[in-house]
């Protein structure tokens, strides 16, 4: 029901696998309304996280593991997604502090911190057709579950609820006229296409849930 550093590291490895599996799909989404690199960028970043975990070993706390992931993303990904996901993981790590175990409430708090970080850096609001459209409902769903089922829901359930909401949130970007990121250059022409970052947010949450 709770997770330690080992489980968080395993979840990140699962996320790396999911990114590789969905690399082409993310490249394709970005090709249509962006510059065809989102899947490539994330694969490079998560592969680097896996190497970092392999070489530095697993840190003592979930927060420290997430911080390693954050700095790796910031220094290996580039593009818009690098700093944004990097910030998300960094804020989540900071929110967790040095607790040895992560629980449902902590998970919801970390997600909230991640969302706040992405918003602060990217200045995007819900409806701008970015990863925020997946992450914002994910946070709400996670908080709802953590609050309602206090004590009964575990980290996995919270992340699954977040992933479900993120999936719906990602789908909701299709009809939008993007206002942030590269897709915004297309204006109306981007309508009908799912935002790649929203999609990757959803699949990352689901992969993390799978091992949490």
């Amino acid at each position: 029901m709770t997770c330690g550093a080992t489980e968080v590291a395993a979840a990140l490895r699962a996320a790396a696998e999911a990114v590789t599996e969905h690399r082409d799909e993310l490249v394709e989404l970005d090709r249509v309304i962006g510059d065809a690199d989102h899947g490539e960028n994330l694969e490079r970043g998560f592969a680097a996280i896996v190497s970092a975990l392999d070489t530095t070993g697993i840190a003592a706390t979930p927060g420290a593991v997430l911080k390693l992931a954050a700095t790796t993303l910031i220094s290996k990904v580039g593009g818009a997604a690098g700093p944004l996901y990097g910030t998300a993981f960094l804020r989540a790590a900071t929110a967790l502090g040095d607790h040895a175990e992560l629980d449902a409430a902590g998970t919801a708090e970390a997600l909230r911190a991640a969302l706040d970080g992405v918003r602060a850096r990217g200045k995007a609001e819900t409806g701008d057709a970015t990863m925020v459209d997946a992450l914002a409902p994910a946070v709400t769903a996670a908080e709802d579950l953590a609050r309602q089922a206090s004590g009964t829901a575990g980290v996995r359930q919270v992340l699954l609820a977040a992933a479900d909401a993120a999936d719906a949130g990602a789908d909701s970007t299709a009809p939008l006229v993007p206002r942030k990121g590269r897709a915004s250059y297309l204006g109306e022409r981007a309508v009908g296409h799912v935002d790649p970052g929203a999609r990757s947010t959803a699949l990352l949450l689901r992969a993390l849930a799978g091992r949490a």
Binding site: V27, R31, G34, D35, S75, V77, G78, G82
Partner: protein, 333 residues
Amino acid sequence: MKKIINDPSTVVAQSLRGLALAHGDLLRVEQDPAVVVRADAPVADSVAVISGGGSGHEPLHGGFVGPGMLHAAVPGAVFTSPTPDAVQAAVAATTGDAGALLIVKNYTGDVLNFETAAELAAADGKDVRSVVIDDDVAVADSTFTAGRRGVGGTVLLEKITGAAAERGDSLDAVEALARKVIGQVRSIGVALTSPTVPHAGQPSFDLGDGEVEFGIGIHGEPGRERIPAEPADALVERLLAAVVEDLPYAEGDEVLLFTNSMGGTPLLELYLAHGIAERLLAERGITVRRRLVGPYVTSLEMQGMSVTLLRLDEELTELWDAPVRTAALRWGR
């Protein structure tokens, strides 16, 4: 996809190796993170002018590293802005007490990564400022969106700020000059074909035989609108009108006209387009005082062109004329 590469993941590193071998007198290359640095860096008492961005736009930026222009260039992966640690490495290799100016093209990724690097450099006690160039009139400007992109004007900005740094201007002065240039430069582009990103393996967009993408970016993002292909006279008028009306440039203005190939458009066509642009500006009473024609800001093998206008005054003209010695631009002594 057919390209002269070994593997999409090693393209940038291997290309930089060739760049270093070809131009060892001008620059050196550091790998991991990848940075192109002036051979004689750090240049004592000079503001360091640093630019960078995703690869795939060569000669931008590495081809402009050298005396009179950039002190360092930071190449990211293809069409992907570089990471903050790469920018930091460029700062470390070039920046002394005079500080550094980072030239950032206005894309979310570039802005975020360079911003982070500037913060980190400031934390190290270095005086590092950044300016964001957003000269592409194809994109509606608004604070609620990502805003205009940085495109062709970047070359002119790099040249002029590089010349100012070379003559010993302070960081305050170079920064102010950069903002002046950004205020007076505008561009727009058109694509006839799509580029193919190596790791994507297929064209970024599909374009019918009778269509062109007007208001194209330089990353294979589709343009503002898809229009039927038209004769060069009409196409260049369309490009020029969009640029002239934006600032606007007015009768009596003196300008630098930069006619840029996106990579795949041959010089034969580019000079033809340049001739038309000169005629159309003359008809508007705008005097072309300086010109640059060639493939300087490209988008891999994409066919197409862009037109950039910079309003000139004495100072800008003098800085433009100042000697420069880089792989792609070279004049004066």
